[in-house]
């Protein structure tokens, strides 16, 4: 972009031909000549302030300016400036008496076809609504109470943010479209612009809200949301490390992970999960998942420290035993350490900045001895 150009938001609805023409004329009077559009933005070139008449020629079944169309307009004293959002070819003239359409029937024919085209675009928007909402509908946790008391837990487990942003962004886009289509119908009926014309901001807000949702969706579909890590390449604490080298892990890969489940997207906090179980068989030949030693590690990383603090607080609120968590003095760069230990089962919650770890351990070892080791593990993430 050169120094003599400037981008501005288009305040009027992109389907309101009359309002856009009037707006571009006012801009020209201020010395800003239309050049092109990019989404809700419009590029203007600085020019001498002058009174111009603008005409928006609906683009029907075309994506580029037709040379014959340009020739006809130029021969009639108009000049071509560019395209407006793949909807119109923009022409201007200094002749206030010039008329692009001298036959109301031909104008009506063009507008009728353009309206049909935009109606099909509306169906596309409807499909986009359906796609996003069906993709993220499971983001609704089912209860406001759960969302209220376990906010971070809910956000980490369900796509709550994508769902809420999708609903909000689509409301703005749908409203923009509906108001715009009404404007188009009014224009066809020869009626002047009304308040609905000034709804250009709805598009801007809708797009801004939906940008993170689109990025998130791209990450989901491109597989960037799940990036498992080999256990060997990680510095994760294992059950064998806690129990000792002689300890036998179960051979069942469902319970004894040899990788770290790791993922996250723009709107889904980065997370790690790892679990290991001891062998299920005991000397009596029986096995019970609740009796064998186990280690379960859950980690979440949030963009803000306050969110991680909230997550640690929610984890502490779980009443798995009748006892309270005991807060320990921070070591190893950790900012929070909470331990709940009994003879058979222990829970450890550690927070370092925006990263929070919950350790669930079943066994007879003392987890407090491994706090610094877990701190190192968090640092190496």
């Amino acid at each position: 972009m050169n120094k003599q150009s400037c981008w501005k938001l288009m305040p009027v609805n992109g389907y309101d031909i009359f309002a856009i023409e009037s707006y571009l004329e006012r801009m020209a009077e201020q010395g800003l000549l239309f050049s092109m559009t990019a989404g809700p933005l419009t590029l203007y070139c600085h020019d001498e302030a002058k009174t111009l008449q603008f005409h928006l020629e609906p683009m029907i079944d075309k994506s580029e300016a037709d040379t014959e169309l340009n020739a006809l307009y130029e021969d009639a004293g108009w000049w071509y400036l560019g395209t407006f959002r793949n909807n119109y070819f923009v022409f201007a003239t200094e002749n206030p008496e010039a008329k692009a359409y001298t036959d109301p029937d031909s104008l009506d024919y063009v507008l009728k076809r353009f309206s049909k085209q935009k109606l099909i675009s509306g169906l596309g928007l409807l499909a986009f609504n359906f796609f996003l909402l069906s993709l993220y509908h499971r983001g609704w946790p089912g209860s406001w109470i759960y969302l209220q008391y376990f906010t971070m837990e809910t956000i980490s487990k369900y796509p709550v943010l994508p769902l809420l942003l999708s609903i909000l962004g689509l409301v703005f886009l749908d409203l923009y479209y509906l108001l715009g289509f009404l404007c188009l119908l009014r224009f066809r009926a020869g009626k002047a612009a009304n308040k609905a014309s000034r709804s250009g901001w709805l598009l801007t807000v809708g797009i801004l809200i939906l940008i993170p949702v689109v990025i998130n969706t791209f990450q989901l579909f491109s597989g960037l949301d799940y990036r498992p890590i080999d256990l060997e390449d990680s510095n994760f604490v294992t059950l064998s490390e806690i129990e000792g080298p002689e300890f036998r892990l179960t051979g069942n890969r469902m319970y004894n992970m040899d990788y770290i489940s790791h993922g996250g997207t723009l709107l889904d906090p980065e997370n790690w999960y790892f679990q290991q179980y001891g062998t299920f068989s005991n000397r009596d030949g029986g096995s019970n998942i609740n009796d064998v030693p186990r280690l379960i590690l859950s980690i979440n990383r949030y963009p803000m420290k306050a969110l991680a603090e909230k997550r640690a607080q929610e984890w502490r609120a779980y009443r798995v035993m009748e006892e309270e968590y005991q807060s320990l003095s921070p070591v190893g760069g950790l900012e929070e350490i909470h331990l709940l230990q009994s003879d058979e089962r222990s829970y450890l919650i550690l927070r370092q900045g925006g990263t929070v770890l919950r350790v669930e351990y079943q066994g007879d070892k003392n987890l407090s001895k491994f706090v610094e080791r877990f701190a190192q593990m968090l640092q190496d993430l």
């Binding site: 020739a71 010039a98 359409y101 024919y109």
Partner: protein
Amino acid sequence: MKSKARGPLTEPMLYVLMAFLKQDMCGIDITEYVSRRTGGRVQLGPGTLYTILAKFQEDGLIEEIAVDGRKRTYRLTDKGKETYMDELGRLQMCLRDGEEALL
């Protein structure tokens, strides 16, 4: 307008068809022809002319025969001539009825 391609034509449409009777033409020639023919009474705006040409082409009344830079030359098809003659006949009947009504 769609129904008018086979029924009554608008004045600009009739003159555009008329322009092709004697020779093949490009868009700019048509504007000049119509203006000259009607003594400036009927003016074809660029949007109107472009739309009429596109519609006539779609309906098979004219066909593109050459492209020279930004100019496209069209010629009248048999269907186009037939449509013109039908419209002319209709207008003659209208005129006759109108004149008889005055007597």
